[in-house]
Subunit: 232 residues, 2 copies
DNA sequence: TCCTGTGAATGGCTTCACAGCG
DNA sequence: CGCTGTGAAGCCATTCACAGGA
């Protein structure tokens, strides 16, 4: 009753992939690609699951969201599964990415080799600093932030990565949205408000470290407790 | 029946905080700290929830994991809640962080101002490149990777951030674990294998972009379908 | 009366065991 | 016979509506 989009009901292409499964699919894709580079042609769910750090049933269930393309009694064709995941994730054509903010982080992102090999191409760089504007980074000339809208249109960028200070993030984010960018990845340590139609993802190092600190503290407390409370 | 650790059942201090709630708590903390800097002393769950981008019930439930320190009919004391979250996350004492890999990314991380103000201090930098070793980054001298173990011991680092190429990540990770580091944040685009006792978190830009691509593709397909399918 | 705190219900993810096909 | 594919069950977390106190 919930999904009315099935025209044939043969392949689950209209189904939405659960977020947790989606994140894992990207991991499988990476493992498969490195297997392919190493010349491996076939792999079982058990081996692939171990390489990806998940349980075999989880792996099979995740792949089943895309369809059934394994060979029973044998395993998976590495190239085929890689291709199917790529297709499901929308990586068959290249996405054009603009990087906003060319500090150390922006430079690191611009030079990230994983970009070009995996369906993403950096097409524009922006910065507000006059000393940085005009310089060449990773083969691209840095544009002034004043030209954001025009350069986005000219390059046809449809994704943006924000590597800017917290204070200016929301303003730039609004400009990106107004310019028609529907997918944004932000490294700025602030909560950004965007319309529901825009996909926003956040990478936040402070959050990650704080989560680690929480677990580390818990581990220490448990240790202390088991020291002092020698009693079942 | 599940939790047998309650000695008094008054304050939920022995309870484990659900992962999703934990991640949100770090966001609340950031919002609260910026409110505090702005001089705000009180805030309602509704306002705080909006600033953090969550629903009010979610916020209240999350905070209830730490105890009850709001005033009914009034709201929350900004400073108090900030302090409680900090205590729960283990941020009352400073964690000593070593950064492994001083490329553009490592440099960006070393210079990240959020570190010092929020319970984390960078105490050591490592790199394999002889050209980088010995140089000063963010007020610290870069040590050669050969001195990893000795420098970790000397500085008392108990957390590590890895900003290294995929190929060398597992080897360095093993060395960190062997040296007693129990909390690792990795930016390397590979699946790292660690003992269950070690907390490993991963930040993966490729994964984030791929997830964005998936949603962007879905949005496009939906758009196309509603165009062409006037009626099957 | 207001806003917080929480118990109950919903929904989704993971796990399991078995069916299905090469 | 081996390994994949999947339906069903169990479990966990989030969500909601209401109770509870200042």
């Amino acid at each position: 009753m919930t999904h009315l989009t099935d025209t044939e009901a043969a392949k689950p292409s209209g189904q939405e992939i659960p977020p947790a499964a989606l994140a894992r699919l990207t991991i499988y894709l990476r493992v498969l690609n490195s297997l392919m580079a190493a010349g491996t042609e076939r792999i079982s769910s058990e081996q692939l699951a171990e390489s990806a750090g998940v349980s075999p049933p989880t792996l099979r269930k995740d792949l089943s969201h895309l369809g059934s393309f394994g060979t029973r009694g044998v395993g998976y064709d590495v190239r085929l599964v890689s291709q199917e995941i790529s297709a499901a994730l929308g990586l068959m054509h290249e996405w054009k990415v603009a990087i906003v903010g060319v500090g150390n982080l922006g430079r690191a992102l611009a030079g990230y080799s994983g970009f070009s090999t995996k369906g993403f191409g950096v097409v524009a760089l922006f910065d507000a600093d006059p000393l940085v504007v005009g310089s060449e980074v990773a083969g691209l000339q840095v544009s002034p932030i004043t030209e954001l809208e025009s350069a986005l249109r000219k390059t046809g960028a449809n994704m943006a990565v924000m590597a800017v200070p917290a204070g200016v993030a929301q303003g730039l984010c609004d400009r990106l949205v107004a310019a028609g960018v529907m997918s944004i990845l932000s490294f700025a340590p602030v909560v950004l408000q965007v319309p529901a139609s825009v996909q926003l993802r956040k990478v936040d190092m402070a959050t990650e470290l704080q989560i680690l600190a929480y677990h580390a503290q818990r581990a220490q407390e448990t240790e202390n407790n088991s020291e002092s409370s020698a009693r079942p």
